[in-house]
């Protein structure tokens, strides 16, 4: 990754906007939404830094392959880690046939992701467990907000001509503004992949900067669509440009590309986040999305984050899974932790 001359470490730093109430005691359920501040104002585009970015694919794959076996969490620790994964989830529905009914079901699940019975057996019933956000298309923002009222769970909307990002540029900006004004607190935008493939960093930077402005106070999550950027170096450079332009989160995929989130791609993006933090002191979040459907995989992602970015990144303000079927597998594993028996999908309420 880039060679950074300046380092800004402060080990005691608490992430800005850190929301300790994501899992909190029952008595103090907050009624108001937690304000989400932009954490990354961005910096000037630095061509020199972009040019220096290196990413050696085989070494990166070696790292992710071995990391899986370098760390292990068992018993109570596994339970805690799985519960953590639940709180880091952007529960998502992005389908052409979404209806308000469907979104209401999802929102209900978001507020009660794991059944009380299991939480009681795990002796963690005193917490309100909820997911990181609910992620929908623009038209579903209103039903989502409605269903999530009083929960403090933010609504995220995909935007800018998701998933291809090839609609007229003005309309893409208008789309963001529209979603923000409807109450979406997070905007998941897609970039123009062609700017990366032609290495037109200036254009990419300007595009994302305008997205950022359009977001106003909403959190900007920039989807790189890594499956279409193909090389690790492209991904590393695009990550850095997105952060320079002000991305609060960088996200791997729309879920619609042929290859979505993978551990090696995530590692490249995570290391870019680390470099950017060392350079600016700004913490940018990371969201792998698409293809993560197993509890075990989610633990591997958490380990990767813990090892490469540190435990302070394991909060919903700085890490999210974009997933739809992951939660069910985690519920099954949690039930196994609670009962010692392997569980079945149908035993857990659908979202």
């Amino acid at each position: 990754m880039a060679k950074l001359k300046k380092t800004h470490f402060s080990e005691t730093h608490t992430p800005a906007g850190f929301n300790p109430s994501t899992i909190d005691s029952r008595e103090s359920t907050p009624d108001k939404l937690v304000p989400i501040r932009a954490q990354n104002p961005g910096i000037e585009l630095d061509h020199g830094l972009i040019a220096e970015i290196q990413a050696n694919p085989t070494a990166i794959i070696h790292r992710t392959n071995t990391l899986k076996n370098r760390r292990s969490v068992k018993s109570h620790w596994q339970t805690a880690w799985l519960l953590k994964a639940v709180t880091l989830m952007d529960l998502t529905t992005l389908a052409g046939d979404d209806t308000s009914g469907r979104v209401t079901r999802l929102a209900a699940k978001a507020q009660n992701p794991v059944s009380m019975e299991i939480l009681q057996k795990l002796k963690v019933e005193k917490c309100t467990l909820k997911v990181g956000a609910v992620c929908v298309y623009h038209e579903m923002i209103a039903p989502a907000l409605d269903a999530l009222k009083g929960s403090s769970i933010p609504v995220a909307a995909v935007s800018t001509g998701f998933p291809a990002g090839l609609t007229p540029f003005d309309l893409r900006l208008a789309e963001i503004r529209e979603s923000v004004s409807c109450g979406a607190q997070e905007i998941d935008v897609v970039i123009s992949r062609r700017h990366v493939l032609t290495e037109n960093w200036e254009e990419l930077y300007d595009e994302i900067k305008l997205f950022k402005e359009a977001c106003n106070s909403a959190k900007l999550k920039v989807i790189l669509a890594t499956g279409e950027l193909v090389t690790m170096r492209n991904i590393g450079k695009a990550s850095m440009v997105a952060m320079m332009a002000g991305a609060d989160f960088i996200k791997t995929s729309t879920g619609k590309e042929p290859v979505n989130a993978t551990l090696p791609v995530s590692l490249v993006m995570i290391r870019a986040i680390r470099s950017y933090f060392e350079l600016t002191g700004n913490r940018v979040g990371f969201k792998p999305a698409g293809g993560i459907s197993k509890a075990k995989e989610s633990l591997q992602y958490l380990m990767l984050i813990k090892e490469e970015l540190g435990t302070q990144w394991l909060f919903p303000d700085l890490f999210r899974f974009g997933a739809s079927s992951l939660l069910n597998d985690i519920e099954r594993q949690l039930e196994h932790q609670a009962t010692g028996r392997y569980s079945a999908s149908y035993r857990h309420p659908q979202g």
Binding site: K3, Q54, V124, L314
Partner: protein, 792 residues
């Protein structure tokens, strides 16, 4: 532990691997082990035991029999008894046994991993993911070698009984590296595991019994260095393979000097880890973790010497320090442990002393504040920066989790600093520029180079060192060479030497003869001997044929200096080397009568015999000219997206001692083979027929051989050989002189562990059977394996 607290802290928590089955096995064995000889555990008649400990806790694991000379004798007898039959059953039958062993290793994989971790103290992650899978891989690979040996290597036969002495750092893996190729090719084995880590070898013995390996094929004798010495000295053993320290390796070289056992030595290292400014630095940091914090740094090929480009040094070292904070030192049986226990208190003290010395040498020592277990012999990961090439820490092996570092300015300087070491085992090169990475890889003097990776192994790739890191290769086709030897050729009927009365006086001086002064030939120039003395060249009747210069130590020194200056020869294209050899042949052919006449005068042989020798020499030059651009390396099949190039590299400067027999051809065959592969030679011509060589200097002069590539020092072998063999700038010795000097040559080479090839009395065979010159080529090169992962 409260789940909610963990939820806040997101700690890993304990994740212990169960040791129940390993403990049960030890219990069943009564925690007491004899040797494994002729297919069964045996106790000595008056058994003496030592204890093997778990270094992570200090607990006693078992009592192990101490191998006496009597035990070694029994084991060797069993191996001798088994060998002929084991070889005769053929490759396919042996392959089936090796295959069965591989399968059994896999069946007991976790058991072996736990046992190894208990005995050695290394993390379970490593034994489970690295050691044991590689053990199985080696037996699979060599099952294949057993199968193919009969058809693909019909000219090679096993050594017989191999004595194998292995270290404690990769106990079962080193056993596999040694045992698998040995038995695959029809050898039998007496193996001694380290006294620190005998348990996995003793369980391996059970596997051998389970697969019904014929009794005596593998025998395991436990004990320490004393037991090892009985093996090394045993006269019924014809091959010694040793992995361990350079000092013990040198002692073994010494002990085997007299009986000239075949030797494979895999010794110490101070392997450079080179990080260029254009590297993927975050990946290089992980490379360092794998290089020096694998197995607590107790790895012969550990990337222990960090060379980092000055322009990025601060950034990179900051990343390394930060990474060190996240390493986990602790119980080796915990699945989340990165660094386990050092093998022994003694070794940990040694490491502490070395780090203290680093402080004295003004190095800056960084050790993260990590919690260390109270029991056992744990040592924190350590980085020492700000050292220079003269620091002891930069030069000597530490064999612990201690990385020492230094900066370089350009990649050329990196190469020179990397090679500034007595060792030459491995290296790791990090750069995203393929031109630079490959140039560095080619220029490094070491047996293994990992580009943008480190400490990766596979049975299909060769492993072994240059310089004082030892010789011989393990793994791949090249490893097989060291567990076989050429079939002894049928000795041709020797022409009966003529009695003195049969010799005909032929000396005749042509009228036009002008006096000639054969001189030494150094750096492309004919020079007078430093001492200013000459030696008479006598024919068998004792008559003076001519005189040659009487070379001395200083002439050898000058010749080596000249050879050093000719280092560009190793970069000459194969085509170029080939052309030069053809040209030598052409020019020798023009003067064949003259050369034949010299042979006749020196040896008083028949003119036909002499002319035949000249013509054979010309053909030999053609032969090696042909090979110059055809003796190729290999691409090993290791893993997807990894290319391993096994390159044949020249040895460097080779001291060549010519035989008295074949005064011309003996010189030509050795010189031509070495020169064809890019070596430079310091030649000590035949004592009785030196004129054939000195005359040849004119051929060298007229054939575009660069100055210094071939140097000729005539003189008494007794005076010269010792100087050549001891010279630290000479990399190898080819000795075809009087066999009474063989042991001396072996012994004197210990200083820098030269590669020694004693041609003994075999020249006759080669002279008469041209097909077997292959052996010459193999001895002319050192094999370097370059690992090149790829993919974007």
């Amino acid at each position: 532990m409260n789940v909610m607290n963990i939820f806040e802290s997101m700690d890993y928590g304990p994740s212990p691997e169960s040791r129940t089955e390993a403990d049960q096995w030890l219990e069943n064995k009564g925690k007491k082990f004899g040797h494994y000889i002729a297919g069964e555990y045996r106790q000595s008649t008056k058994p003496k035991y030592f204890t093997t400990y778990n270094p992570a806790t200090g607990e006693e694991l078992a009592q192990i029999a101490f191998g006496t000379k009597g035990d070694v004798d029994k084991a060797v007898n069993a191996a001798v008894k088994a060998q002929k039959k084991w070889y005769k059953i053929g490759g396919y039958q042996r392959a089936k046994y090796l295959y069965a062993i591989a399968r059994s290793i896999q069946k007991h994989a976790r058991f072996l991993a736990v046992l190894e971790t208990l005995d050695n103290g290394k993390p379970i992650r490593e034994t489970r993911d690295l050691d044991i899978p590689l053990v199985a891989r080696h037996f699979y690979f060599h099952a294949g070698m057993a199968q193919l040996g009969d058809t693909e290597l019909p000219d090679r036969i096993p050594h017989g009984v191999c004595g194998q002495i292995i270290p404690w750092n990769f106990p079962l893996l080193m056993l596999a590296w040694k045992v698998a190729p040995a038995i695959a090719l029809g050898n039998t084995v007496v193996l001694k595991p380290s006294e620190h880590t005998p348990l996995s070898a003793l369980f391996f013995a059970e596997i051998l019994s389970q697969v019904n390996l014929p009794a005596g094929v593998v025998n395991i004798v436990t004990g320490d260095g004393i037991t090892g010495e009985h093996i090394v000295k045993h006269t019924d053993i014809h091959k010694i393979a040793f992995t361990g320290s350079t000092s013990v390796g040198k002692r073994i070289r010494h002990l085997t000097a007299e009986d000239n056992k075949s030797l494979t030595l895999e010794l110490g290292g101070k392997s450079p880890f080179i990080v260029c400014s254009d590297a993927d630095l975050d990946s290089a940091v992980e490379g360092i973790v794998d290089a020096i914090w694998l197995n607590q740094g107790e790895v012969c090929c550990a990337g222990s010497r960090l060379l980092v480009q000055e322009s990025i040094a601060d950034t990179f070292l900051a990343k390394v320090r930060k990474r060190m904070n996240d390493l986990r030192v602790g119980s080796p049986l915990d699945k989340s442990t990165d660094i386990g226990s050092i093998i022994s208190r003694k070794q940990r003290n040694h490491i502490s002393e070395m780090v203290a010395l680093g402080k004295e040498e003004k190095g800056t020592v960084y050790q993260p504040q990590l919690p260390l277990p109270h029991n056992g012999f744990f040592y924190p990961p350590t980085l020492v920066t700000g050292l220079t090439p003269s620091s002891v820490l930069m030069r000597e092996e530490i064999f612990g989790p201690v990385l020492v570092s230094m900066t370089f300015r350009t990649h050329r300087e990196a190469i020179s600093l990397a090679n500034n070491s007595k060792y030459g085992l491995a290296a790791s090169v990090w750069s995203e520029n393929i031109n630079m990475a490959l140039e560095i890889a080619h220029e490094l003097q070491c047996g293994v180079v990992w580009i943008n990776s480190t400490n990766t192994f596979d049975a299909a790739a060769g492993f072994g060192g240059y310089k004082e890191s030892g010789f011989g290769r393990e793994g791949g086709w090249e490893g097989i060479d060291y567990y076989t030897k050429p079939k002894p050729p049928k000795l041709p009927v020797q022409a009966k030497a003529k009695s003195k009365s049969e010799l005909v006086y032929k000396k005749e001086i042509p009228e036009s003869q002008i006096d000639q002064t054969p001189k030494l030939y150094i750096g492309g120039r004919k020079v007078r001997p430093d001492g200013g003395y000459s030696l008479n060249v006598l024919n068998p009747l004792g008559e003076i044929v001519d005189t040659v210069g009487k070379g001395n130590r200083k002439d050898i020194r000058n010749a080596v200096e000249a050879a050093k200056s000719a280092s560009s020869w190793k970069h000459a294209s194969a085509y170029n080397r080939s052309q030069v050899l053809y040209f030598l042949a052409e020019n020798l052919a023009m003067r064949e009568k003259e050369f034949a006449r010299r042979i006749e005068l020196q040896t008083m042989c028949d003119s036909g015999v002499a002319l035949h020798e000249v013509r054979t020499s010309i053909e030999t030059l053609f032969y090696f000219a042909s090979w110059a651009d055809k003796f190729e390396g290999k691409i090993h099949q290791v893993a997807a997206k990894k290319t391993v190039m096994a390159l044949n590299e020249p040895l460097g400067i080779v001291g060549v001692v010519c035989p008295n027999q074949y005064s011309l051809w003996g010189f030509v065959v050795m010189m031509a083979s070495l020169v064809s592969m890019g070596n430079r030679c310091v030649v000590i011509p035949s004592e009785t027929g030196p004129l054939s060589s000195t005359d040849f200097s004119q051929i060298l002069d007229t054939s575009d051989v660069p100055a210094g590539v071939v140097n000729l020092i005539t003189g008494n072998h007794d005076d010269l050989v010792k100087t050549v063999v001891e010279h630290d700038d000479i990399d190898a010795i080819w000795f075809a002189g009087c066999s009474t000097q063989n042991a001396m040559v072996n012994k004197m080479s210990v200083g820098n562990l030269k590669r020694i090839w004693l041609l003994e009395n075999n020249l006759n065979c080669w002279y008469n059977q041209k097909s077997s010159y292959y052996e010459f080529l193999k001895h002319s090169v050192e094999i370097k394996n370059i690992w090149i992962p790829f993919g974007e």
